[in-house]
């Protein structure tokens, strides 16, 4: 994977949210600190502005109709197979030729057993339908002895998804991620979470298999996206000449002149990469050379 924080991030996010590129499964990983609701609203807003999208909302958590137009299914009213049939009744068959896009939103895929997830997704996904599945990452899970060697739901979904969006709260400078996690693990929800401004980590998988990872900040009220530049640990601990001053009586720092001279030195490995024929062995036969054609191990070249 490569980490990229250029302007391409906002363009790519807009393409993912507007469903411009067909993506069979968009996985959204959230937590109680920042729910995916606002991201779903943003996706629906962007997708509906970009093209004609029909939405099927499959609710495992709420009984309330969302604030956008959609076909609403309350999942707990059905057994899994019936639920698949119910969802499919709102979707076109793969054989149909249609112009509009279809989006199925699952508000908590945690409710589907791990062993049934791949069957569920394979049954719904088609060339006309994209799935947006929300997975709550902070729900405690009881390990099952039957699925001891089977991947977890999150691993399975991350493997299948073409785009993964992890939603994080925008944390104030006074608190840290660890403090937040500690409080949530004790079922204590800190104040000031689930805001309109939040951060996401977008992982986009290309057809080549290459993944691009971007960090962005989203203002869901203003529909504005900004790439987030993170300070790497190396930058914080990088040595500067000032740090070396007054440590010892030796002169450890380098002057500007010395620095320039150092940069101009061509290191030996750079010369070795020029690949001229200087080091090649060139052999020419001479008339007295003894060469046995039948000896398979004799190869003068």
């Amino acid at each position: 994977m490569m980490l990229n924080t250029t302007q391409n991030a906002t363009v790519l996010l807009k393409r993912v949210l507007s469903l411009s590129d067909f993506s069979p499964l968009i996985l959204c990983i959230d937590g109680i600190a920042q729910m995916a609701n606002k991201l779903i609203d943003e996706l629906v807003f962007t997708a509906q502005n970009a093209s004609d999208v029909r939405i099927v909302y499959v609710s495992f958590e709420t009984l309330n109709y969302p604030n956008f137009e959609c076909d609403f299914i309350i999942a707990d009213s059905f057994e899994l197979e019936k639920l698949i049939e119910q969802i499919k009744s709102f979707l076109p068959t793969p054989q149909e030729s249609i112009t509009s896009k279809h989006l199925v939103i699952l508000d908590a895929i945690n409710s589907i057993p791990t062993t049934m997830i791949s069957h569920f997704i394979a049954s719904i996904a088609s060339r006309h339908t994209s799935l947006l599945a929300v997975f709550h990452s902070d729900l405690p899970e009881l390990p099952s002895p039957h699925t001891e060697h089977y991947p977890s739901s999150q691993e399975l979904l991350s493997f299948m998804a073409t785009s993964i969006i992890e939603v994080h709260p925008k944390i104030s400078h006074t608190s840290t991620n660890d403090q937040l996690k500690e409080q949530i693990s004790k079922s204590l929800i800190p104040r000031g979470l689930n805001n309109d401004i939040f951060e996401i980590t977008l992982t986009n998988r290309r057809k080549s298999g290459r993944s691009l990872v971007y960090s962005l900040e989203i203002d869901a009220k203003k529909h504005v996206y900004e790439p987030v530049s993170r300070n790497d640990g190396d930058n914080e601990t990088g040595e500067t000449p000032e740090m070396l001053q007054d440590l010892t009586t030796f002169n450890l720092s380098t002057s500007a002149k010395q620095k320039l001279a150092k940069e101009q030195v061509d290191l030996p490995f750079l010369e070795a990469q020029s690949f001229n024929t200087g080091g090649a062995i060139v052999y020419q036969f001479e008339k007295d050379d003894d060469y046995d054609e039948e000896d398979p191990f004799e190869d003068p070249f």
Partner: protein, 259 residues
Amino acid sequence: MTNVQRQDLVVFDDNSVISSALFSKETHSLISIASAPVTSPFWLISAIMEDLTLGVSNSFNETTESPPAKKYLGPITLVSFIHNAKYFANAFSKIKIPPSSYKVVDLLTDFVLKNSGMPNHKVLSNILKSIPDNQSSVIILEQPEILLSLLDGLTSDDLHRKLINPVMRRCKLLVVTTKLRSLIQETKDGIEASRFTACTYYKSMAILSLRPLETGRAKDVTGCLRITRGGSANTLDCQVQENEYLYFNQKENTRLFYR
């Protein structure tokens, strides 16, 4: 603490405990009350009952001179696994809540005897049958997670699917109280109970959590009440007023102070 100004209990941004906006649309809302094992949430239930039936929480709110008009006139059902009907009648008569304004479904008395040997789905459907179905009502459900320990093989997801969601459908507002467990005890019941609480948070509009003081015991503070937004998308005309209070339970009333 005696000189510190006493505060009113406010959960929603229209300065109410239970906002009238919750009853204005065709919606179903959930409020979670989570408490540590050493803190009882009964005073909060009393405050909600006062607010719903009398229009004001007299136990806390000093600022209202004359009681406002009642904002909620529908039925209230208290479903409890830890208190019987007599307990509610005694407690509510002290704060002048008329007995006609609420109904108690007692799931404490002889619950195990009545349901022994029955399959889980039958027990849950019997519980559902005992809860009135009224789309405009308020239901207060006390500690349903006890069922995770009482019914063999019952999971948190089953409990939500077969009890919490159907009960939510039967009312306008569901208030669920749960006891927080420590994850250090990683038993099956402990993990399922934690998952149950976390799932309830995801469905909640507001989360009211009670915990004791981190510093230990104090003579004039019982614990800390934190009010935060839950995971549910809010489509109503009211917002949760996030706040943190210190509270002090006294014999007749409870005093709140901003933290």
